[in-house]
Symmetry: C2
Amino acid sequence: MRRKKQNDLLTDVELEFMTALWSLGGGGVRDILARIAPDRNLAYTSAATIMRILDDKGFVTSTKEGKQLIYAPALSKDAYQTRSLQNLSAKLFDNTPATLVARLVDDAGLSQESLEEIRALLDRRLGDADD
Amino acid sequence: MRRKKQNDLLTDVELEFMTALWSLGGGGVRDILARIAPDRNLAYTSAATIMRILDDKGFVTSTKEGKQLIYAPALSKDAYQTRSLQNLSAKLFDNTPATLVARLVDDAGLSQESLEEIRALLDRRLGDADD
DNA sequence: CTTGGTCTACGAAAGGTTTAGAAGGTCGCG
DNA sequence: CGCGACCTTCTAAACCTTTCGTAGACCAAG
């Protein structure tokens, strides 16, 4: 059975848990739950269910260690960031990344510092292959 | 009563319809449905329901013209692009736009052309205050 | 061996999304 | 007037997401 709706995007809660797992590198349900916002008050079984779903969907791998399951990301955060950007670019920006960046740098809430950081990035990226 | 889950993001189908409406500027259900991918085969009443929901949520405005409702975006595409980027930046990039752009320009699928377009954008934006 | 703690798996409930049929209004034309 | 065409509104079904309780497995300590 395949996903039928989205390509391979995480739902809100799934992303919350993957973020915790990425920062951890790996761990059991209790470790992961400890990284979730404390005011969340999520039941342990809820967390376990989320992790099982992530496993089913292939976003994490699990290995039995003693009596508990240890989870590890099956997809790096970088890779997922790229995937999300591609999705957003396709859905909302006509697959033209330049428009996406334009909207980003037009955002008044963006600091000068951030802008310069971004240009430095681009200079580095374009400097190499420049002819 | 307000939305309870997301800030103010469109669902998949809602985005599909808003995209049609943005490209149209405004129109009735039949106009909008004509802009949706033709292999979609969506019933007219389904389209009407989506538009009513968008109206309820405040994403469009409607005015009665004769016997039909004419819809217009209550939110520009630019504004929604900005909103989406802010959301993605907060959820997945720790609110550091530079990281977002880094992931974007690291994407091997990005053409040299796009990269240069992006840098030109930044130069224009930063050129003023350059030292 | 039995009890208690910890774990995973299953199932259900509540809410949101997507689709579409049924019902009822309105308008123009014969 | 009455009919058909077209429109909106209501309602429901199917599915997905999120949350959690219950049940069953397993192990260690008394």
